[in-house]
C-alpha cells in the first residue's frame, strides 16, 4: 500500500476524532493520533492484515519548546510482509501540575522497550505501563533531560556532574 492508501485506511477506521492532523512532506505522510488512543491505533496498525506493521523502526520524540503542546512522540513503522513504511505521532504536553506522559507500546512491539526508556530519560516523558522504566544511557543521579531544547549543550556542574556527588566529596 502506498502512503495515501494507508492514510485513508486509518481515517476510515478511526475518524477525525482520533486522527487529529496530517502532514505531507515529499513522499512521506505523518498522521497525528490522539494521545489517549495510541495503543489501540498501534495495535490496529500491527494486526490489520493489509497494514501488518510488524516491525517498529524506532520510537522517538521532538521537543517543540516553547510551543504547546510541547512534545511529539514518534513511531516509525515498517511492514516486513507488505514492504511499506509509515509514521504516526502523538502530541504530549507538560504543564506545571501534569508531567508529560503517554502509554507504552511495549505490549504491541517488544522492541519499543529500549526506545521508550531512552526517550523517557532524554525528554522527561513518562511511558505509562512500561515494564522496566529505569534509565538506559544516562547516569542514575542525573535529573535533567538533555535532548530538551531548553537544556544547554554544555551541560552544567550541578545538572551533569562527571562523578556522583558522594564520590566527589570523598565519602
Amino acid at each position: 500500500m502506498n502512503q495515501q492508501e494507508i492514510r485513508d485506511k486509518l481515517f476510515a477506521q478511526f475518524g477525525e476524532e482520533v486522527i487529529q492532523g496530517e502532514i505531507q512532506f515529499r513522499d512521506q505522510i505523518t498522521l497525528t493520533v490522539d494521545r489517549g488512543r495510541i495503543t489501540s491505533v498501534c495495535r490496529f496498525l500491527r494486526e490489520d492484515p493489509e497494514l501488518a506493521f510488524d516491525f517498529l523502526s524506532f520510537v522517538g520524540a521532538v521537543d517543540r519548546f516553547p510551543n504547546h503542546p510541547r512534545f511529539e512522540v514518534l513511531y516509525q513503522l515498517y511492514s516486513l510482509r507488505n514492504n511499506h513504511r509509515f509514521r504516526i505521532k502523538a502530541l504530549v504536553d507538560e504543564t506545571d501540575s501534569e508531567p508529560a506522559a503517554i502509554d507504552s507500546v511495549v505490549a504491541v512491539w517488544p522492541t519499543a522497550d529500549w526506545h521508550e526508556r531512552e526517550t523517557a530519560e532524554m525528554f522527561g516523558i513518562s511511558f505509562g505501563g512500561h515494564p522496566d522504566p529505569r534509565k538506559l544511557l544516562l547516569p542514575d543521579e542525573w535529573t535533567c533531560h538533555p535532548l530538551r531544547k531548553d537544556f544547554s549543550l554544555d551541560g552544567s556542574e550541578e545538572e551533569t556532574p562527571d562523578l556522583p556527588r558522594e564520590v566527589e566529596q570523598g565519602s
Binding site: Q28, S57, G60, D63, R85, T111, K135, L136, L138, P139
Partner: protein, 399 residues
C-alpha cells in the same frame, strides 16, 4: 533467590550475580552486563549501557546541515561511510536534491567496501572471542587494503569523510579503479582462506552451532535487522526491498540462513562479503564520466574550480559556510542497509540553518536488545560467543 532443598537437607540452592565488563575484551568497547547465574547457566541478564554516550544527537542539532557529516561518520566508526551515506540521502530528500549518477555509483562502491571492511573486522574479532586466533591476522590484512583505498581517494583511512550533500567532495583519485579491481579480483580467494579456517573446523562449529537461538518471531518483535534477522530466516535487505542510490541496477543475492544461531550469523556475513565484492566489481564496470556533485546553488557546495574563477560560485560557497543552508520546514525518514542492519535517520527542519531534531536509528543499539532473549538458559562461556555474534559497535549503541 534462595530455596531449600528437600526436607532434612540443610543445603540451600542459590544463584549468584556476576558482573561482566565494562572492560572486557569481548565487549569491543565499554559495555557492562550483570549476569545472574545458576552454576554456569545464565538465568537472567541485565545490560547497562551509556558508558560511551556523548550526546551525539544533541551535538548534531547544534551543527549546520553540512557540518553534521564528519560527526555522522563517528557514530559507527566501523561503517563510517554508511553513516554519511544515510545522512546525505536524508538531507537530500529534505532539500530536494539528487546526486548525479556517477556520484551514486561511487557511493555504492564506497558503501560496499565499508561493508566488507566492517564484516572483516567482525570476523577477526569474533574468531578471537571464541578462541580462534588466526583469522584476525588474515582479516586485518585485507582490511588494510581497503583502508589504503579509502586513503588514496579521500585522505582518511578509518573515517573517509568523502560524501557530501548532493554528491561527493571530489572525484576518484587516479589509480583507484585499478586498485579496487585488483582487490575484488583476489578477494574471493581470501574469503576461501577464512572459510578454510572456520566453516568446517569442528572446534569452531561445535562452539557456535545451536548457540544463541533467536527465532524468526523474536527477531521481528525485537526489531533485529541486518545479518541478525537474515540469520533467522527473514530475507529482508533494504538494498532490495527499498533500493536507494541505484541498488536496483546491481545483480546480487541476499544471504539468508535458517539456523537462527551464531553459526548462521557467521555464514550470512561470509556470504555478504562475497556479494559486496560482486557489487563493487559491477559498480566499477558501471562508472561513466560525469559530474560528481549536483548543481543547486544555495544548497550544495559549488565545484572547487568554480569558486576560484566565478564570483557567483564564490558567494554561494561563502554563504553556505557562514550561514549554512536553510532547509524547508518538514520531516523525513531515510533508512539504508548498513553492515549491522537498518540504519535510519529522521530529520526535522524548522526552516533554520541546523536540524531541529536528528534521530539516529542505530541498528547495533536495537540488535543488542535481543541479547537477553538469546542468552537465557545458555552457558556463561556461550554468552561471549553470542554477544560477539551481534556485531555491536558501542559508539553506535550509546551514541
Amino acid at each position: 533467590m534462595r530455596e531449600a532443598a528437600s526436607s532434612g537437607d540443610t543445603r540451600v540452592r542459590e544463584t549468584f550475580e556476576l558482573n561482566v565488563g565494562p572492560h572486557h575484551p569481548s565487549t569491543h568497547g565499554v559495555f557492562r552486563a550483570v549476569v545472574e547465574l545458576d552454576g554456569e547457566i545464565v538465568v537472567n541478564i541485565t545490560p547497562y549501557l551509556g558508558y560511551l554516550h556523548r550526546g551525539y544527537e544533541k551535538t548534531c542539532e547544534a551543527k549546520t546541515w553540512h557540518n553534521v557529516i564528519p560527526l555522522a561518520e563517528r557514530c559507527d566508526y566501523m561503517g563510517a561511510t554508511t553513516n554519511s551515506f544515510v545522512y546525505c540521502l536524508a538531507a537530500e530528500k529534505l532539500l530536494d536534491v539528487e546526486a548525479p549518477e556517477r556520484a551514486q555509483t561511487i557511493r555504492v562502491i564506497m558503501a560496499e567496501l565499508t561493508r566488507i571492511f566492517s564484516h572483516l573486522f567482525w570476523l577477526g574479532t569474533h574468531g578471537h572471542d571464541v578462541g580462534a586466533m588466526t583469522p584476525l591476522f588474515y582479516c586485518l590484512r585485507e582490511r588494510e587494503s581497503i583502508m589504503d583505498l579509502f586513503e588514496l581517494t579521500a585522505g582518511g583511512r578509518l573515517m573517509p569523510n568523502y560524501l557530501r550533500i548532493g554528491g561527493l567532495i571530489r572525484d576518484l583519485e587516479d589509480g583507484f579503479v585499478e586498485k579496487a579491481r585488483e582487490f575484488t579480483d583476489q578477494f574471493n580467494f581470501r574469503v576461501d582462506e577464512y572459510e578454510a579456517l572456520l566453516t568446517k573446523n569442528p572446534i569452531y562449529v561445535d562452539r557456535v552451532k545451536n548457540i544463541g537461538i533467536l527465532s524468526r518471531e523474536d527477531a521481528i518483535a525485537l526489531g533485529a535487522s541486518g545479518p541478525m534477522i537474515r540469520a533467522s530466516g527473514v530475507g529482508w535487505d533494504i538494498r532490495k526491498s527499498e533500493p536507494y542510490s541505484g541498488y536496483d541496477r546491481y545483480d546480487f543475492q541476499v544471504a539468508v540462513e535458517q539456523g537462527c544461531d551464531v553459526y548462521s550469523r557467521y555464514l550470512v556475513r561470509i556470504r555478504e562479503m562475497r556479494e559486496s565484492a560482486k557489487i563493487v566489481r559491477q559498480g566499477l564496470d558501471m562508472l561513466k564520466p560525469g559530474p560528481i556533485r549536483a548543481t543547486k546553488p544555495g544548497a550544495v557546495f559549488p565545484p572547487q574550480e568554480e569558486i576560484y574563477t566565478k564570483t557567483e560560485a564564490l558567494i554561494h560557497h561563502f554563504m553556505l559556510v557562514v550561514e549554512g543552508v536553510r532547509a524547508p520546514v518538514g520531516q523525513v525518514y531515510q533508512a539504508i542497509e548498513s553492515p549491522r542492519g537498518e540504519l535510519g535517520v529522521y530529520l526535522v527542519s524548522d526552516g533554520g540553518p541546523n536540524p531541529h531534531r536528528l534521530k539516529w536509528r542505530a541498528p547495533a543499539f536495537v540488535n543488542l536488545e535481543t541479547l537477553a532473549t538469546m542468552t537465557k538458559g545458555a552457558f556463561l562461556s556461550d554468552l561471549i560467543a553470542i554477544l560477539s555474534s551481534i556485531d555491536i559497535v558501542l559508539a553506535e549503541v550509546d551514541r
